[in-house]
């Protein structure tokens, strides 16, 4: 990759950041949505007979912080696949494909910029409401760097899936039904609400090995097991899925471009 390309990608990332910052109503809406979810689950976890688990450390406060991390990733990303869907259905993608910088990379850079802004906003908002509700932070300081790295990889994985879902419009017209299924799979197999460690076996182990766990469960899992082997294993698995899903995205993008070239947009 040339230096000019890197500069262009950085410019796209900056554009994404500025757009997210300018969308104040949308940002506040997301923050309110995030808080609402956390408040709902705070009420639900407090109404749950957690003593039935027989795990003394796992209380409502820890589960609150677990969800604060998983929901942060999901809400920060939003629904960017719709952007590609719109571009394909309206034909606007033709202008993007003609640029010297690959359309998918430019878009991904813009999404990353926007997500960085939203992750910071939601992260600060999550810590504020968590402090207010639970009276402390259940995230050990020692795992913070690993958690930040894991959250970054998780967000990248989700964004790559959105790229693929957006490109699916080239074949299916509206990828919304595919998105719903993918989203609910991330909710269930990613352990959005309930930590995968609490899933019955072998369902729990299968879910933990899936790419969905790398997208949602991984950064929050450090709240349940902060040992060095667990952190190394989780980050390793995330990197592996990043390579696999990155490759899949590249193949989908190539296939879509070939289809556009053959049949038009």
């Amino acid at each position: 990759m040339r230096r000019a390309d890197i500069g262009a990608l950085l410019a796209f990332a900056l554009l994404g950041w500025h757009r997210a910052a300018a969308d104040r109503a949308g940002g506040l809406g997301r923050l309110a949505f995030y808080w609402l979810i956390l408040l709902i689950f705070w009420a639900l976890w407090r109404a749950t007979p957690l003593q039935e688990l027989g795990r003394p450390g796992l209380d409502a406060a820890r589960l609150f912080w677990y969800m604060a991390v998983t929901e942060c990733v999901v809400i920060a990303v939003g629904f960017p696949y719709r952007e590609i869907e719109r571009a394909i259905l309206s034909g606007e993608i033709a202008a993007g494909l003609a640029r010297p910088l690959p359309y998918a990379m430019a878009l991904l850079a813009e999404w990353i910029g926007g997500c960085c802004h939203r992750l910071l906003l939601l992260g600060a908002g999550g810590i504020a409401i968590g402090l207010w509700i639970t009276g402390g932070i259940a995230i050990p300081v020692a795992v913070l760097p690993a958690m930040v790295l894991s959250t970054t990889i998780a967000t990248l994985l989700v964004l790559l899936c959105h790229l693929q879902l957006g490109y699916a419009a080239a074949w299916v017209g509206s990828p919304a039904p595919l998105f719903w299924i993918w989203q609910k799979m991330t909710f269930v197999l990613g352990g959005l609400m309930i930590p995968l460690a609490l899933y019955p076996e072998p369902f729990g182990s299968l879910a933990e090995a899936s790419p969905f766990a790398a997208m949602i469960f991984a950064p929050a899992s450090f709240l349940l097991d902060a040992s060095s082997p667990a952190i190394a294993g989780t980050l390793g698995l995330q990197l592996l899925w990043l390579i696999v899903i990155g490759l899949m995205t590249w193949l989908v993008e190539r296939a879509a471009a070939a289809r556009f070239a053959e049949r038009g947009i």
């Binding site: 109503a25 949308g26 997301r30 609402l36 039935e52 299924i181 269930v188 369902f203």
Partner: protein
């Protein structure tokens, strides 16, 4: 043509357009059904670990998801235009409807049918009778409160989608508010405290979409069922009022309002 005939004509055209691509309509519906069943898995996992949630069990959750699926499905299948209302207002798209010799709201709401709603409607029956353990005798009550809940949901979404009349650049906020409503209704509301419940019965009326219908179904309670029906009438009228108030501002110029 009287009003009912007009609405019937709009529905007929929408349904014809919706089934113009039958394979897509069927796929959308099937995937939405699958989507609802997958989300139910979360509760299967939950109740594998815990005996109850504030007195509710897995069957109660199935009934709740059935009620919400019916409400949402009915809303988007019959009045799919609701989902675009904020953008239509912001883009100045109301002009087309204002030129018609009818009240613009029915035309706007019934401007399209979203076929995935059929999957929601179908899944409601699975949740009620297969997973929720309801009997056929419960069907009239289930349909009555769930349909009334659909009206409350539609009215709430209409009100939130009217935000661009007053607030510049708020189409995205309207979408987030829609997501919030859907988020709240899909989870049990009975564990909440007094203040939250008060909000859910007034400014954020999701209690009439999920909590009260569920109480009516669980206790076979006529007063609670009537409460949901009354809420449908009240919030329906409020939605029309809010839209008409907003429309007065729209008359001052549409794109200017959004771009200023």
């Amino acid at each position: 043509m009287n009003s009912l005939a007009y609405v019937a004509a709009l529905l007929r055209v929408n349904l014809a357009a919706c089934f113009a691509r039958p394979a897509f309509a069927a796929t959308s519906a099937a995937m939405m059904l699958g989507n609802n069943l997958i989300i139910f898995l979360l509760w299967v996992v939950y109740f594998a670990d815990f005996s109850n949630l504030g007195g509710w069990g897995l069957r109660d959750m199935a009934l709740l998801i059935g009620v919400v699926a019916w409400s949402f499905g009915l809303m988007v299948f019959l009045a799919g235009g609701l989902r675009d209302l904020a953008n239509t207002i912001a883009d100045g798209g109301l002009d087309i409807y204002l030129g018609r010799p009818r009240h613009p709201l029915p035309g706007l709401l019934l401007s399209r049918a979203i076929p995935s709603g059929l999957g929601d409607i179908a899944s409601a029956f699975l949740f009620w009778f297969w997973l929720g353990g309801a009997g056929l005798g419960d069907l009239p009550l289930l349909l009555a409160v769930s349909t009334a809940a659909a009206v409350v949901l539609g009215a709430t979404v209409t009100i939130t989608q009217c935000l661009p009349f007053w607030l510049t650049g708020s189409a995205a906020l309207s979408e987030e508010m829609f997501n919030m409503v859907m988020m709240v209704v899909f989870y049990p509301q009975h564990p909440y405290g007094f203040l939250v419940r008060l909000a859910l019965f007034t400014v954020f009326p999701t209690a009439f979409i999920a909590l009260l219908p569920m109480e009516a179904i669980r206790h076979h309670s006529l007063p609670e069922a009537l409460g949901v029906l009354a809420a449908a009438l009240g919030y329906g009228a409020l939605a029309v009022y809010v839209f008409e108030r907003g429309l007065r501002r729209y008359a001052s110029g549409n794109r200017i309002l959004e771009l200023r």
